[in-house]
């Protein structure tokens, strides 16, 4: 038990990237998790661990913590998932682990425990945790508690929130990225149908309106806590990422709307759509009409304005 605690401290000191207070918070959570661990002496904490203490890989110490917590239930030693560059073939033990029913450990599909396509990277694990954390957002808000609750449903320790340096910011950015990916996929499908002649193509204004509405509707399940998410996105260290997500989304919408401009129009169109999207989002968070009718009416009007302006500009030219 003491070895485990000293291991945690060693990892936290060795890992240069987390601020100390985050480490302490994670350490406290680890201590709470540690109390639940039994037979830790039987866990083969690998000799490979101490050289990795000095490894600056952010995910390592957290992955170790959550793996050790995981092991408490399986009672076997498992190579940490972030160690895909260290050949730990000697410790293939996943044969026993996935057979337990209480463990929704879907990352090891291959029972032989070989590293390869079934090997989950740290990023994939983070995505899984954040995705499952989303269902706890209505309850806990966009916070680290939601992430912890999400991790627990996957059978991982709540100390795995230490993996997320940005805490709630990671959760919000993940959600935004997920929504944008979904939007892009839907738009691509529609685009393909139009190209195959199986669907009518929409007029540009209607297309933009439908795309923005589709994207904003994805916020509806979280609309009560969305102002909190918006304020998180406006934090200075989150602004570059949130701006990139926003501009990716706007570029996607314009591309599928058929914009192929290669002059200043490229910039003015995207700026206009960004403005429309942001203002409509703001209207939406304080809209209490049934099914957000007022928001869609607002969106309609804004798009009409932009179209009018564009037509006027064309006439003047």
């Amino acid at each position: 038990m003491y070895f485990f605690y000293s291991l945690c401290i060693c990892n936290h000191i060795g890992c240069m990237r987390s601020p100390l207070w985050l480490d302490m918070a994670a350490l406290v959570r680890a201590l709470r998790a540690g109390r639940a661990l039994r037979g830790l002496g039987s866990v083969a904490v690998q000799g490979t661990v101490s050289p990795q203490c000095r490894n600056a890989r952010r995910g390592f110490h957290c992955a170790t913590l959550l793996r050790l917590a995981d092991d408490s239930k399986s009672g076997t030693s498992v190579p940490p998932p972030s160690f895909h560059e260290v050949p730990t073939a000697g410790e293939s033990s996943s044969s026993s682990e996935p057979s337990e029913d209480g463990q929704p450990n879907t990352s090891y599909q291959d029972q032989s425990g070989e590293h390869g396509e079934d090997y989950e990277t740290e990023e994939q694990l983070q995505v899984r945790i954040l995705t499952s954390a989303l269902e706890f957002v209505p309850e806990h808000g966009w916070t680290v508690e939601a992430i912890a609750a999400g991790a627990e449903t996957l059978g991982l320790s709540s100390a795995s929130t230490g993996m997320f340096n940005n805490g709630a910011g990671d959760l919000v950015l993940h959600f935004v990225a997920q929504c944008n990916a979904q939007l892009a996929d839907t738009l691509a499908e529609q685009h393909n149908l139009v190209q195959l002649g199986q669907a009518e193509s929409k007029e540009m204004a209607e297309f933009l309106r439908d795309a923005v509405e589709m994207r904003l509707r994805m916020l509806i399940p979280y609309i009560d806590t969305w102002p909190q998410a918006m304020s998180i996105l406006l934090l200075p260290h989150n602004i570059p990422d949130s701006l990139k997500h926003l501009s990716t989304m706007v570029d996607d919408i314009w591309y599928y709307a058929g914009d192929r401009s290669t002059d200043m129009n490229w910039y003015t169109r995207r700026a206009a759509l960004t403005g429309i999207y942001n203002t409509t989002e703001l209207v939406m968070v304080q809209d209490s009409s049934p099914d957000f009718e007022d928001t869609w009416a607002f969106l309609d009007n804004r798009i009409k304005d932009v179209v009018n302006m564009a037509n006027t500009a064309k006439q003047v030219n």
Partner: protein, 230 residues
């Protein structure tokens, strides 16, 4: 679905467009830019295309400026012919930018004005001035295309076959303009060497700036998409 693979599907499906109402241009059977999922390579290719597009756009405006001044003289057909070739180059780059979702450079208005001013200003020195300007600019552009060809050949000549072919073709056209300019008494303008040096320095500066045209907001988070494919 990865965005990269979406592009691959869009760019390699050879289906003819049935619905002509669609405003989106139909998919071609080949693409000049090889489809890639590697972020760095994609960003390098996009940067190259952005600079080339800006270059052709500028060249277009230079000829427009020259035409504005010398349009009523004997040199009109000569300038028109060279201008038409540049227009073809520009439309090819427009196509590439549109198909591959490459962002055009933010400095286009600047190249618009600067190009026109250079073309008109040099044409005010007469036909020889305009030819001298053509020689200087075309030499810079050829050099630039040559260095791009070198870069691509160093990386992977087979992968970039179509792109290399296109750039070589354009470079040959520019060299032709350069030679035409020399044939038509470019060197007889007073201060030829000085004028040439100034213009070429300007071109080099323009290329340098355009290459570093980084729009922080729009350099997309492509790699994040990949994770949602699981």
């Amino acid at each position: 679905m990865l965005r990269g693979s979406q592009q691959t599907i869009l760019l390699t499906a050879g289906q003819p467009c049935i619905n002509s109402i669609s405003a989106v241009p139909f998919v071609r059977g080949y693409s000049v830019l090889p489809p890639t999922n590697d972020e760095e390579e994609k960003s390098m290719l996009h940067r190259m295309m952005r600079v080339d597009h800006a270059g052709e756009y500028g060249a277009n405006r230079i000829y427009a400026g020259q035409m504005a001044v010398l349009g009523c003289t004997q040199t009109r057909p000569l300038i028109q012919e060279m201008w038409d070739q540049e227009k073809k180059h520009l439309s090819k780059f427009n196509e590439i930018l549109g198909d591959n979702r490459v962002r055009p450079t933010l400095l286009l208005p600047l190249w618009n004005i600067a190009g026109f001013a250079l073309g008109a200003g040099s044409a005010l020195l007469g036909k020889e001035g305009a030819m001298a300007c053509t020689v200087a600019v075309e030499e810079s552009i050829s050099e630039h295309y040559n260095s791009q060809i070198r870069t691509l050949m160093e990386k992977d000549p087979e992968k970039y076959t179509e792109l290399l072919q296109m750039i070589k073709e354009f470079r040959d056209d520019e060299m032709e303009h350069h030679d035409t300019g020399l044939e038509h008494d470019a060197e007889s303008v007073p201060g030829y060497q000085l004028m040439k040096a100034i213009i070429q320095t300007g071109c080099k500066a323009a290329i340098y700036v355009s290459e570093r045209d980084v729009c922080v907001c729009t350099d997309h988070l492509e790699h994040k998409r990949a994770v949602f494919a699981f």
